[in-house]
């Protein structure tokens, strides 16, 4: 019997989830995209379409005729074996190495997958005490290695200079500095934690006592460092142990996103978000911030406040907790915030010893001092905050110190090792550049990209990527890791260590000199000469020396174990003494209350960007195209305005505004950001760079030009509306699922009462039995297995995604891109809705309490109030192919290119696909992507030129070919692709099991031994994947959860991916607690 079903009607009252205000209001511009097969993909009218179709057939006919001639010969393919055996390498098998990625102020422990010596994919090192998943930056960093736009040779003032000249210059700097006792030499390092770098800086200080050392990062932590030094002492780091924290208050600290605190914040935090573990005990997060961040999205209680008020908020909390010196500052804290904080502070106090307050790392010393006082009052030190003594770090001056010295004419040479881009991102970079010129300062720059500093430097050296050179680093808790090179430097890059060694006169940079063997005299063959002693690289030797001092003597076994595990066991720093809170009053006393925000001026917050960080990842195409987790904007930045501001200014999406602050103007497109503080403007930094190739150039607008002094909050800004509208590539309305209830959430209390609340939503509770006409596979059919999959002898793959843990970062998207050879498509194609990423991170805003609909105009269905928009909740839900057991895509494929495997995968045979796109039309989850062009081969800026594209740009760049995963097909034009649960990994796991078992019978892959790329990447451990036929598998445990539900269950597709509903843990005493995670409007 045929059963027809209908999507449930959108209710008119209750809670709604929406992706864009246009969707919420049911505006015509949104509704018009709904019925279109591929929004933006078809811009021709009927007549043009007909003409172009005929044109196409003509050309295809000719092409087909010629094709026959071209394919007569079988091309010769060569096999090139290794000339000599390479240790460990088995051709065709991946080789894994533990290493680490140095980050500003920290390190990310990694496992690198290499194929025949080329790194292709990164994953977290779970052995490391602070290891876990990765974030998008770490995941994408492997692409930087192969970036065709990377700096490849030394440059002098923007012109090519040979390595010989580079070495001469370095030698003369070194000799001159040694002679002058280092006077005039300034070295600027980034937020590096490398003990070898610090040791060599110490050596430089010894050899050249007057050389000056500075630290600079564009996203500076100078305030936190200064506060730390005053209160905890030199070399002491705070490691936040969120695993021990039951109450967390974040003061504009995006510890789940772009502002990582020391520790492993994401894993530790999300461990406390499962209401089914720890006896139902969940942590609780309060969050104050000016804009939505990932942390705000996860918060149980969140309040949007201007960033310039955060010092006052910190002072208020400190004063409430008995810090007398904070009272003056606290008096400025607005009453509305005080009222909101009242219960939160009480909750923190009640849970003293199990609570912690953390502040954004870029705030000034006064905020961090106040937070230390607060944490002390809460008894956090020793439980939720550990103080760790790190030895051997050099004292570094700040950029302001350096500028004073430069202006005073005391500096002759500046050597920049920082990953930041001094002449672009420093406060008043133009002034710095002029100062350098005026005082004839020689700037030596080391970096991987030819950015503004590289072009302006007297000598630029191409830097080695961290996967190319020996180095080391310390994690937040002091654990020591050695960073191993995976590949010879592709362009003879120089590491920081190499450059410091060159300054010390211990090494020459650039390509290793070729040793010419002495000519052998003719005549009888000479006796083979004794093998020459291998030349030991000075950088390698330096790292080993550091290791020896840290490990207490060079022990080869220890060294080898450290390389294997990725860290030196037991090298964490010792616990430091108690904080000295006597210093609080002095620092807080100096703090000045920020200028009050009246209604007419705004504050500008220069925010860390989720794709660029501070601008250093500008030429990383994966990151450029990964949608911002909050705004879903790709390839550009924009000014985020609160809905109320945006609407009162009468702006359109992408309309230009002029932001004026301190006499600097910035013209930038504006976007509406629900949940944003009203008197605040957020502008992500790192954009607007030039001459970085197609990917990095002319993307967005440079917000750094607004600041003339350090600090990231600029008050007193004015906004002026302009007429021009800029075309932004925002993906929030792409692949829309038409507002059907996908996301389910409830509160901890509710979960206790009705644990299965998620399955009682909408139609789920009263769905008629699914009658399938599809015959299915081997195995017995039953009510729970209507398609008859074989659970006895085969694997049955399945996945769960815990929405309670998913924070909405884009790490899984980038990991998937790296593992599955997914191309980037460029901004124009993104605008047409042709993004290829297999995982779509849906970001929903939500607000409850809709009154009865009132039609505001012809165009708008519902008119939300500004208050509702400014206080919207935000949730994330990753969506990829759901691997439906009864898949609608399969039944419409005319060529059987997408079929089911016996193991429950919805497989794709790319070579069979003819590109009808019927499957994409029929997918209710809109999880299929179509290759409109040969994105891998065609230059992205010349996609429409066809065979006329510039020959040098056509074809996949050789360096990018090295990154591709050899186990996954690189798809061509005209083919549909989508998530296949990393089938290459599943096949490899099964083959391995068979290879090991040989003639015995046990072919079930060991429980939970195979991990898919997104699962491995997930820092929150939200994704579980495994064999449903294995009773012991973790995924079975998750599927048994009462929170488990499948999306669009009522259409009977039987997805293999299920979601666990989010549970939030609001404080009932807080204002607005009843609205947090209120049941969705689709509840029955």
């Amino acid at each position: 019997m045929k059963r027809t079903w209908h999507h449930p009607e959108q209710p008119t009252t209750g809670k709604r989830y929406w992706r864009s205000p246009a969707e919420l209001e049911r505006r015509s511009d949104f509704l018009n995209t709904l019925g279109v097969e591929f929004p933006g993909g078809d811009t021709l009218n009927e007549e043009e379409r007909e003409n172009s179709r005929r044109e196409f057939i003509k050309i295809m006919g000719a092409a087909a005729g010629l094709m026959g001639l071209a394919s007569c010969r079988r091309p010769v393919v060569n096999i090139m074996p290794y000339a000599n055996h390479a240790e460990w390498v088995i051709p065709g098998k991946p080789l894994l190495y533990a290493s680490a990625m140095p980050r500003p102020y920290g390190v990310t422990p990694l496992v690198v997958t290499t194929y025949e010596g080329r790194p292709t994919h990164l994953s977290g090192n779970t052995l490391h005490p602070l290891g876990g998943g990765l974030d998008a930056f770490a995941q994408a960093s492997v692409l930087d290695l192969y970036d065709p736009q990377r700096s490849q040779k030394p440059m002098a003032k923007g012109k090519g200079a040979g390595w010989g000249k580079a070495n001469e210059t370095l030698a003369s700097i070194s000799a001159g500095a040694k002679k002058a006792q280092g006077a005039g030499l300034a070295i600027v390092v980034g937020g590096t934690t490398s003990p070898t770098v610090h040791r060599l800086l110490g050596d430089i200080k010894k050899a050249m006592p007057q050389a000056a050392l500075y630290g600079y990062e564009a996203l500076s932590r100078d305030g936190a460092i200064a506060a730390g030094k005053a209160i905890f002492g030199a070399g002491v780091k705070q490691v936040v142990r969120l695993g021990n924290a039951e109450r967390i208050l974040a003061l504009d600290c995006d510890f789940l996103g772009n502002d990582p605190v020391d520790g492993d914040p994401v894993k530790a935090f999300t461990k406390g978000r499962n209401p089914e573990e720890n006896g139902g005990k969940m942590n609780r997060l309060y969050c104050l911030e000016n804009r939505y961040t990932l942390t705000g999205g996860m918060a149980d209680h969140r309040k949007a406040v201007a960033a310039s008020l955060i010092p006052l908020v910190a002072a208020h909390i400190a004063a409430e907790l008995g810090e007398a010196s904070a009272k003056t500052l606290a008096s400025g804290c607005p009453d509305s915030i005080k009222a909101w904080l009242k219960e939160a502070i009480a909750d923190l106090k009640q849970n003293a010893g199990k609570s912690v307050v953390i502040a954004g790392s870029r705030y000034g010393a006064e905020v961090h001092t106040l937070v230390a006082a607060i944490n002390n009052a809460l008894g956090a030190f020793g439980s939720t905050v550990e103080l760790v003594q790190i030895a051997g770090e050099q004292e570094l001056g700040t950029l302001e110190d350096l500028r004073k010295e430069i202006a005073g004419g005391k500096v002759k040479t500046v050597v920049s090792l920082t990953g930041s881009n001094l002449l672009y991102d420093a406060p008043d970079a133009a002034g710095l550049s002029a100062d350098l010129d005026k005082n004839k300062v020689q700037l030596v720059h080391l970096g991987t990209s030819l950015n503004a500093t590289a072009r302006g430097a007297a000598l630029h050296l191409p830097a080695a990527h961290y996967l190319e050179a020996w180095s080391d680093a310390r994690a937040a808790d002091g654990t020591y890791s050695v960073i191993q090179p995976m590949i010879q430097p592709l362009y003879d890059g120089v590491s920081e260590i190499d450059l410091l060694l060159a300054l010390l006169g211990r090494k020459k940079v650039g390509p290793a000199e070729v040793v010419v063997p002495a000519a052998t005299p003719a005549g009888p063959a000479p006796a083979p000469a004794a093998p020459a002693a291998p030349v030991i690289d000075a950088g390698y030797a330096a790292v080993r020396d550091t290791f020896a001092t840290i490990a207490g003597g060079m022990d080869e076994d220890k060294w080898n174990f450290s390389l294997r595990d990725g860290f030196l066991k037991g090298s964490a720093g010792a616990a430091a003494g108690a904080p000295n809170l006597g210093a609080v009053a002095a620092i807080v006393g100096q703090a000045q209350a920020p200028a009050a925000l009246d209604g007419t001026t705004f504050e500008v917050v220069l925010a860390t960007d989720s794709s660029m960080l501070d601008g250093r990842y500008a030429s990383n195409a994966w990151l450029q195209e990964a949608p911002d987790p909050i705004t879903k904007l790709t390839w550009d930045n924009a000014a985020w305005l609160a809905s109320s501001t945006f609407r009162s200014l009468g702006l359109k999406e992408g309309q230009m505004i002029k932001v004026s602050v301190n006499g600097n103007d910035l013209v930038i497109p504006a976007i509406e950001a629900p949940g944003h503080a009203a008197n605040s403007v957020t502008i992500p930094v790192g954009y607007g760079q030039t001459r970085l190739g197609f990917v990095g150039s002319k993307r967005g607008f440079d917000a750094y030009i607004l600041r003339k002094s350090p600090g990231f909050i600029l008050t007193g800004a004015k906004i002026e509306k302009l007429d021009e509208v800029f075309e932004l590539a925002i993906t929030q309305d792409h692949n829309t699922m038409e507002g059907r209830a996908m996301f389910r959430e409830g509160t901890a209390e509710e979960f206790k009462k009705t644990p299965d609340f998620a399955t009682r939503h909408g139609m789920d509770a009263h769905i008629p039995e699914n009658i399938s006409l599809y015959k299915g596979q081997v195995g017995k059919k039953s009510e729970t297995n209507p398609e008859g999959f074989d659970y006895e002898t085969l694997h049955q793959w399945g996945m769960t995604i815990d929405l309670s843990k998913c924070i909405g970062c884009t790490a899984c998207i980038v990991a998937c891109q790296s593992e599955n050879n997914i191309p980037v498509v460029g901004k124009d194609q993104v605008r047409k809705g042709r993004l290829m990423q297999w995982i779509r991170m849906d970001r929903y805003f939500a607000a409850s309490e809709w009154g009865p609909d009132k039609a505001a105009s012809d165009d708008v269905d519902i008119e939300p109030t500004a208050e509702q928009l400014d206080n919207a909740e935000m949730v994330h839900q990753p969506m990829a192919c759901q691997q439906c057991e009864s898949a609608p895509c399969e039944t419409v494929c005319p060529v059987n290119a997408t079929v089911h495997t016996e193991e429950g995968l919805n497989a794709m045979a790319y070579n069979r696909c003819i590109g009808t796109r019927y499957c994409a039309n029929n997918c209710p989850y809109t999880a299929r992507r179509f290759n409109w062009f040969d994105y891998n081969k065609r230059p992205l800026d010349e996609l429409y030129w066809g065979p006329l594209s510039t020959p040098e740009k056509t074809g996949m760049r050789e360096s990018l070919q090295l990154q591709k995963n050899p186990n996954v097909t690189v798809r061509m034009r005209g083919v549909i692709e989508k998530c296949t649960y990393c089938v290459q990994r599943l096949e490899a796991a099964k083959i391995k099991q068979k290879r090991v078992q040989r003639d015995s019978k046990n072919f079930r892959v060991p429980t939970d031994s195979v991990k898919v790329a997104c699962q491995q990447a997930c820092p929150a451990e939200a994704i579980e994947f495994g064999d449903l036929a294995d009773a012991k598998s973790a995924v079975n445990g998750k599927k048994a959860s009462k929170r488990s539900y499948t999306v669009l269950k009522y259409i009977g597709t039987l997805p293999r991916t299920s979601y666990l509903a989010r549970v939030r843990n609001p404080n009932p005493a807080m204002p607005g607690a009843d609205k947090v995670a209120a049941w969705s409007a689709h509840q029955s």
């Binding site: 000599n84 002898t793 070579n911 069979r912 096949e987 083959i991 003639d999």
Partner: protein, 271 residues
């Protein structure tokens, strides 16, 4: 008005129709033979840069395939050996065999320069097909099943079509190719050369029950015979398959007791 068309044209439509049938049939037959790998690929015998003779090494000298293709049981790729492997025997100061042979010039040169020899690939699969050597070799499929008797070839040539249909023939019917694991690289293997007693004893030693073996001998759907031990099995097998061991006999046993389930879904080879 005279007859415009001559008389013979009356039969023209019929003749054309008949001719068309033959032409179509011819084209169909032609395409299905000449345009398929059976014709286009089988017999491909490119000249290699080094005239390495499998006939001498694997045939006359009896070297095992895995001496050179050393990782074939561990990796998806059957690796081509490095220069060092060649020079183990042919190198000065190593085996010292025929070191001055002009045929080895390129090997010596490659060893000196570190540049690899550019061998010409004979057995070529499309990029979207993922074949794994290790799983086949470890599960009773011999080299000879796909590559033919390489040990008799002076120059390696392709003997099987390696088309998808050909792959599936065996995946649907693995018993025709399965053999004991110690016979994998024995290119001359014949099931009839096996000793029936040691074959069955081997299975029993692996922990397979005699009844199960007996069931396979008589066939799945036949009533189960009682078999207590090796002698019963030998008698039963002799009765069913005759005096010598047959491939069917070996293949069905191995398929059953090694649980060989060759995948037939797309995802097995296409990713």
């Amino acid at each position: 008005m005279g007859n415009f068309f001559p008389r013979w044209t009356n039969w023209l439509p019929l003749k054309l129709a008949i001719a068309l049938v033959f032409i179509l049939a011819g084209v169909t037959v032609g395409v299905s033979y000449y345009f398929t790998p059976k014709y286009t690929r089988v017999g491909y015998e490119p000249t290699q840069p080094v005239p390495f003779s499998h006939k001498i090494h694997a045939g006359q000298l009896g070297m095992d395939c895995r001496y050179c293709h050393s990782f074939v049981e561990q990796s998806g790729h059957a690796n081509v050996p490095t220069n060092q492997t060649c020079l183990n025997c042919h190198g000065v100061g190593k085996g010292g065999i025929r070191t001055a042979s002009p045929k080895l010039e390129k090997v010596q040169a490659a060893a000196a320069s570190g540049k690899p020899i550019e061998w010409v690939k004979v057995h070529k699969l499309p990029d979207y097909a993922y074949f794994d050597h290790s799983v086949h070799l470890n599960r009773g499929v011999s080299c000879v099943s796909c590559h033919g008797k390489v040990k008799d070839m002076e120059v390696v040539r392709q003997v099987e079509p390696h088309s998808m249909g050909w792959c599936l023939d065996c995946h649907r019917n693995p018993e025709s190719k399965l053999r004991p694991l110690d016979q994998i690289t024995n290119l001359d293997y014949l099931a009839s050369d096996l000793d029936r007693k040691s074959f069955y004893q081997g299975l029993l030693d692996k922990g397979v029950k005699a009844e199960e073996i007996a069931q396979v001998i008589v066939g799945e759907n036949k009533p189960a015979p009682t078999a207590g031990g090796i002698d019963d099995l030998l008698a039963l097998a002799g009765k069913t398959f005759g005096k010598t061991v047959s491939q069917q006999e070996v293949g069905t046993q191995l398929k059953k007791h090694w649980q060989i389930q060759p995948p037939e879904t797309c995802a097995a080879c296409h990713r």
